[in-house]
Amino acid sequence: MAKYLLLKHYRGIPEPVPGTDVSMDRWTPDEVSEHIAFMDRVIDDLKDRGEFVDAQALSPRGEFVRYDGEGRPPVTDGPFAETKDLIAGWMVIDVDSQERAYEAAAHLSSAPGPGGRPLHEWIEVRPFLTDASEVTG
């Protein structure tokens, strides 16, 4: 069993499939509702299979923060309207194989968009580093 992070990006993904790149604020209300309902079903399905760990959405508004020396306040930078990579949210799943992780990501990517057609959205799949390590020698 291995955990995988399925990352949804606002930006910073490979080239979208032609015709699917319509900003969500230009969808109809029903299209938005259908999309959200599909996401809930994806989560229910993962729960039902005993694979669900976590799902979270992130605000697109955020800043970069860093240490600036002892006794000084943290330095902030941003927000950047044009940051190349912007993460929208994630799901964490615990599955038997990489193949199953890809299948779950593809299912997520088939969420309906305008006209009820699949969005074909790119999902970034990242394996977790584990705690365990195998017996050898």
């Binding site: 955990k3 299979r49 005993g50 760990v53 584990t130 705690d131 195998e134 017996v135």
Partner: protein
Amino acid sequence: MNGPLGDEALRDLTPQVLGVLVRRGADFATAEDAVQEALIEAVRRRDAPGAAAPADPKGWLVTVAWRKFVDARRAASSRAQREIRVSLEPPPGPTEQADDTLLLLSRCCHPALTPASSVALTLRAVGGLTTAQIARAFLVPEATMAQRISRAKRTVAGERFGEPGEVRAVLRVLYLVFNEGFTGSPADGVDLAEEAIRLARQLVAAVPDDAEAAGLLALMLLHHARRAARTGPGGALVPLDEQDRSRWDTTTIAEGVAVLQRALARDRLGPYQVQAAIAALHDDAPSADETDWPQILEWYDELARLEPRNPVVALNRAVAVGHVDGPLAGLRLVEALAPDLPRRDAAAAYLHERAGNLDEAARRYAVAADAATSAAERTHLTRQGARVRQRAG
């Protein structure tokens, strides 16, 4: 909590009680839930003020579990608007002494189940752990683990419950449980490595003639004995050749060796016995330099004959060759293996350092760290790379 209703004692009784219910005709899935509920009730009663322990804990658990089973069936029957077919009084059961451990283990490790499902179901139905404990040990929500277990039970629901299944499938699952607990720290009192050893002991008692079951138990003991020396401050991995051998548990090593010797005497060699023999040779060396590599290599030759298509065996054998015939001989074998084989670069780095190729060793350690699947391993390999680079100057 010790005594007749201590946690350990209760969990030892789990497969026995479940076995009794199933032999009396209870379906596996409902019976398994009923036993869990009975265990919870036993703990509640035990911890209540002024509680007196029952004289016959197993008989008490069977009675409570059977009542829970009947309640569950009644609820299901009335839901389905069907006639109640189960009676409150348990039918006269067959001998309560029957050892159902193998029957239950092979049910939980049924080939139709995924490894993760088998592991979870085994820990609950035979190990007597709660769903919450198993969920915490595997870092998933309790609801997810509950669903995994109930799906697994549905998958095996239609299977006939008579002949025990393959012992080999059970061995694989117990080996997985042990590996999960190998470097991870015990989560919430659940020590998966010790749990695997406990289950392996039960299995060996159930199939005393199976040399590989004993081989697996020996393998676990011989590795478990090094546990205290295997991690340094902050959980850092300490490789075998750098471990403080005075911290190895000699009692456990002696037990592992004795179990292994009895297994080998049966003259039915298998991969677990061979791996245990290799572990025993490592455990036997007073220092890394005194390791009997020629004999270890002979065992790896044996393992490679038993598992000719296992690339991990080929990789470990190559490292042994590196110790016996020199690092360059080992490297030739390593480089012939598939580039994406896990730990191939780590083995290459190790042999390159021994051959004095420090730059190449550092480079390969970096590649290996990048491909590591565990955080502790990645840190270890990164540190090894830094150390070699420092040596190279």
